[in-house]
Amino acid sequence: MPTAITTPRAIRLVVEGQWTWYRRSWRASVVSSVLQPVLYLLALGIGVGTQIRPGGATGDLPYLQYLAPALVVASAVQTAAFESTFPVLSAFKWQRTYHGIAATPVSATQVALGQLAWVALRISVSAAAFLVVAGLLGALTSIGAVLSLVVATLTAVAFAAPVIAYSATIETEGQQFSVIFRFIVMPMTMFSGTFFPVEQLPEWVRPLVWLTPLWHGTELSRAVAFSTWEALGALGHLAFLLAMLAVGTHLAVRNFNRRLAI
């Protein structure tokens, strides 16, 4: 007779449950999480990029190659934002599937960790698909792009964790999420150094940019892809992302317990 279940096992089971759902509905998500960034890469990298001369700002690389390792991070963060909002709200409020899981040996804490693990898996798969396409388009300069996949996944979960924590507190129909998309995700995507160097921004804006996980992820991803990294800077970015992940995970676990185990 099965009794308690270890946390790694419980996380795997939550991911398995999500996978069962995803297997049925992955087609729709391929458009937003793979096709859309590929279109960006084509339009900006190959379209706009032909008008941009390689220079200091692009690390002397063609714009397409300058863009690819950053775009994979930006689109991972966007996918993370979607996966951490409505699906989480739905599992608490509309479908109440989390409540169902919390009635099994799997605990509220394990549900939170499982959800985060699922987002990480889901992002790494679409980021990998994007990188394959980017490689075929000649947008990748070295095998270091494989490390960009790791950086993209880390950046995305670092952002996902606090968003999941926030989604776990929402009792309404989720109108708040449009604020996250419009005023956090959108500007962050535009101004965190993905498309042009942050140095182009007015000086007073830059401290704001340094607070975004996407800027740290972008810097780190380009550094590993172009092998231009230096230890101290890389450690700083890594530390920022890991700290955000740790705090976000802590809050998510707390909020899941408040909602499921009261």
């Binding site: 007779m1 099965p2 009794t3 308690a4 279940i5 096992r9 419980a10 089971l13 398995e16 449950g17 069962t20 759902w21 049925r24 509905s25 479908q95 109440r96 599937t97 989390y98 409540h99 169902g100 899981i101 919390a102 009635a103 099994t104 040996p105 799997v106 605990s107 499921l260 185990a261 009261i262």
Partner: protein, 309 residues
């Protein structure tokens, strides 16, 4: 206490407080193996809070509780592994099929894929959903969803099944079908704990029940015992033309009179005799009915009001 060691659920002074609201105010109860135990009470009486504590999802804030001989605050996951839970609101994954819901849910109990597959097939039969097993849950009727929720709660062969208002919102056909399934489970030896605010459901299903009101247990016993203790043998129901109902007029004709908005209930050992007395007083009800006491009468007596929704 001799009985508490062999009880599946034992509570002493069990309490639940949310902020400054006392949902459960110190209740004692013992649920014995193989019985169907009911919580009856109006909305807000504390039934669901009690169920959630027994289900080991809601930590108690006072008193003692053991479930299957273990302490929920320490052994929650181990206890939950041996329980089946049918929540008040269905929480099926509506985008998955009937079968997928059972597969996914069974896995959370740590059961192997092969075991879950075989068990799912058996439960789909039991829930009479064989012809819908590959349909998405979204397309099922309310009664089918409820049967699936019950089937799902059995995926781990639970020793104790917790049902929170299992038939609320279902049509009569669906309710009878559900009762039949629950009755079969009981015959197989599964212990049931049911909350309901339907008296007929309590009478149908429960060997023993407690009536809760405002967080306390106000009566306990079998349906027959409760009726014998808290009501008379018969009830005379009188309806008067609109605006002419007057409880003063029937004073002294029954042991007790319950005033409902649309009729008077006269609690008496001999309904026909009381009706004759009513007529002798020159009263002319539009209609009258003599019937046996039911749990509903006990309920009205104990909670002092009709069901609050």
């Amino acid at each position: 206490m001799g009985t508490s060691t062999e009880s599946l659920v034992s509570a002493r002074g069990l309490a639940k407080r949310f902020g400054d609201f006392d949902a459960v105010r110190g209740i004692d109860l013992d649920v014995r193996p193989g019985e169907a135990f009911g919580f009856l009470g109006p909305n807000g009486a504390g039934k669901s809070s009690t169920m959630r504590m027994i289900a080991c999802v809601s930590p108690r804030t006072g008193g003692e509780l053991t479930v299957l001989g273990m302490d929920p605050s320490r052994d929650g996951p181990a206890i939950r592994g041996r329980l089946g839970v049918v929540p008040q609101q269905d929480n099926l994954d509506t985008e998955l099929t009937v079968r997928e819901n059972l597969h996914v849910y069974g896995r959370y109990f740590g059961l192997s894929k092969a075991h879950v597959r075989a068990k799912a097939t058996e439960l789909i039969e039991f829930a009479q959903l064989a012809d819908r097993s590959d349909a998405e849950v979204e397309t099922l009727s309310g009664g089918m969803k409820r049967r699936l929720t019950i089937a799902r709660s059995l995926i781990n062969d639970p020793e104790l099944l917790l049902l929170d208002e299992p038939t609320t919102g279902l049509d009569p056909q669906a309710r009878h079908l559900l009762w039949d399934r629950l009755f079969r489970l009981k015959q197989q030896g599964v212990t049931l704990i049911v909350t309901t605010h339907y008296m007929d459901e309590a009478e149908q299903l429960c060997d023993r029940l407690v009536v809760m009101d405002a967080g306390r247990i106000v009566a306990e016993g079998s349906p027959a015992e409760l009726i014998a203790q808290h009501s008379t043998r018969e009830v005379l129901e009188l309806r008067f033309a609109a605006g002419t109902q007057d409880e003063q007029a029937v004073e002294g004709l029954a042991e007790r009179v319950e005033v409902l908005p649309d009729r008077l209930l006269l609690y008496t050992t001999d309904g026909e005799a009381s009706l004759a007395a009513v007529h002798r007083r020159g009263l002319t009800p539009v209609s009258s009915l003599v019937r046996r006491s039911t749990l509903e009468d006990v309920f009205l007596r104990l909670t002092g009001r009709t069901l609050v929704d």
